[in-house]
């Protein structure tokens, strides 16, 4: 990858691999910063007038009508085709060094996870059900999806997630080089100086990019991290070992975990909610409430794309990812009233806050919902 933390679980990329990745990063940045803003102009100059010609004035401001109108515009088609193509190319490009190094990385993972000096744990129950939504949808077009597991030694889902994830986020201008956990930890330490949670849970941890910073920032805490894909978790656990962090990884559904009531002082998630359905998100909030000890705190961070603050055009334009980047829950997350949902899950209204979480490498903010268990 172009920018990332160095550790023993990364594929060896040649100078040519890195050059191809940098090309894609540059290309995606151009698309995002110079071409994509033109979608608004396309809407204002061609799509809206055409919709107004065919529909009543109010219907021309309808999100669904705008989506259809945009897709028929040749300039929007060009942006769409380039955006989709660059995303597909990104995965093919980061897959190449992984394909060359696959066997070495699998062996490396085995040796890290079986080492007598290992710090953490990896808990993969044999009877864990296949998590269908994550197999059907290849989120961000990640090859075969986050939950794909080819064998009992497979690590590809996690390796791809890490290799592609940062490049993708940076290309989107969404701060791939920003530490989401770092932003949350800084904010929590300002809120509660001297905060020393004994047990921390990271829900929907993927490759453990956020789990590791919690383990390093709170060395006396027991950090647990859960997700649904075995190959993803195997990679996450090996990566955490390679970085010298003690994290206990478990294959669990965030909406129905196997932990006891009230056993965590801090429950967090990072960029989880735009990847799960309304039902799973609400189950996760109920589970958060159940798992927190009295006085405990949750912080659920995600991208700041709340539709309540956006025009119909902005909502329609942002929904591109739903259809062409295999992000089926992007729009229902953006529509959600998360503060209200946390209250429905059991939290007292006065303890729930929705905040702009400043990025570490600003400018800009993440969205976060914070609640305390009284």
């Amino acid at each position: 990858m172009v920018h990332e933390l160095k550790h023993a679980m990364l594929a060896t990329a040649t100078a040519d691999d890195l050059a191809r990745q940098r090309f894609l990063l540059a290309f995606k940045r151009e698309l995002t910063t110079r071409i994509r803003p033109g979608n608004r102009t396309i809407f204002e100059t061609r799509v809206r007038p055409a919709l107004k010609g065919r529909l009543r004035a109010r219907a021309a401001e309808d999100r669904e009508a705008i989506k259809q109108g945009l897709l028929q515009d040749p300039a929007y088609q060009t942006w769409s085709a380039l955006n989709r193509c660059s995303q597909e190319m990104m995965w093919a490009t980061v897959s190449e060094p992984l394909m060359r190094d696959r066997e070495r990385l699998e062996a490396q993972a085995r040796s890290l996870l079986e080492s007598p000096q290992r710090r953490g744990e990896l808990d993969l129950p044999a009877d864990f059900p296949v998590y269908e939504p994550m197999l059907q949808h290849h989120v961000h077009l990640q090859p075969r999806g986050y939950a794909y597991t080819a064998s009992s030694t497979d690590i590809m889902a996690g390796a791809l997630y890490e290799a592609g994830g940062n490049l993708y986020s940076m290309g989107q201008g969404m701060g791939g080089d920003d530490s989401k956990a770092g932003a949350a930890i800084r904010w929590l330490q300002a809120l509660r100086p001297g905060f020393a949670p004994r047990r921390i849970l990271d829900m929907g941890c993927s490759a453990g990019a956020s789990s590791v910073p919690y383990a390093l920032a709170f060395p006396d805490a027991e950090v647990h991290a859960i997700d649904v894909g075995a190959a993803m978790l195997r990679y996450a656990a090996a990566r955490a070992e390679a970085l010298g962090a003690r994290v206990l990884f478990h294959q669990m559904d965030a909406g129905a975990t196997r932990f006891a009531d009230g056993c965590f002082d801090l429950v967090v998630s990072h960029n989880l909610f735009h990847e799960v359905s309304d039902a799973t998100r609400n189950a996760t909030f109920r589970e958060t409430f159940r798992l927190l000890a009295p006085g405990g705190l949750c912080l659920h961070q995600d991208v700041a794309i709340q539709n309540a603050k956006r025009t119909a055009f902005e909502q329609a334009e942002r929904a591109w990812d739903v259809y062409f980047n295999d992000e089926p829950f992007w729009e229902c997350y953006a529509d959600a009233r998360i503060g209200t949902e946390l209250v429905t899950a059991g939290f007292t209204a006065g303890t729930v806050r929705e905040i702009d979480l400043p990025k570490i490498n600003g400018p800009g903010f993440w969205y976060a919902a914070v609640a305390e268990r009284s």
């Binding site: 769409s80 897959s95 394909m99």
Partner: protein, 123 residues
Amino acid sequence: MTPLAAARAAIEYSAQPRVHFFADPAVDRVLGITLAVAQEVGQVLERLDTMERLLVEQGALKSGAVQAFVPTPAIAAERLMMQEAFCSRLLRVVEQELVQLRQEQRSAAPAAATAAGSASAVA
């Protein structure tokens, strides 16, 4: 695994359902191929940059010497031919379509001439 096998394996592993945005999917296909070429050009640019920097570092080249290089008229002429050959290869599909059109025109011409000849003969 050879670089060729890795490239092919990566393409196979990362295959997604094809989507198209233009009325004719061929346009999406051409765009995809063009973008792949652009990515390779980006990689070549970096290689050249690396070569230049290594040569400067090792004292074989003065910094800025590549940009300051002024070709003699003979070299400039050679280069122009090189660029023309490149452009010909680049425009292969357009040119070959014209070649085909001209061949059709030629093979149709004698028949047309014969037809015109017989018509005038009848008249």
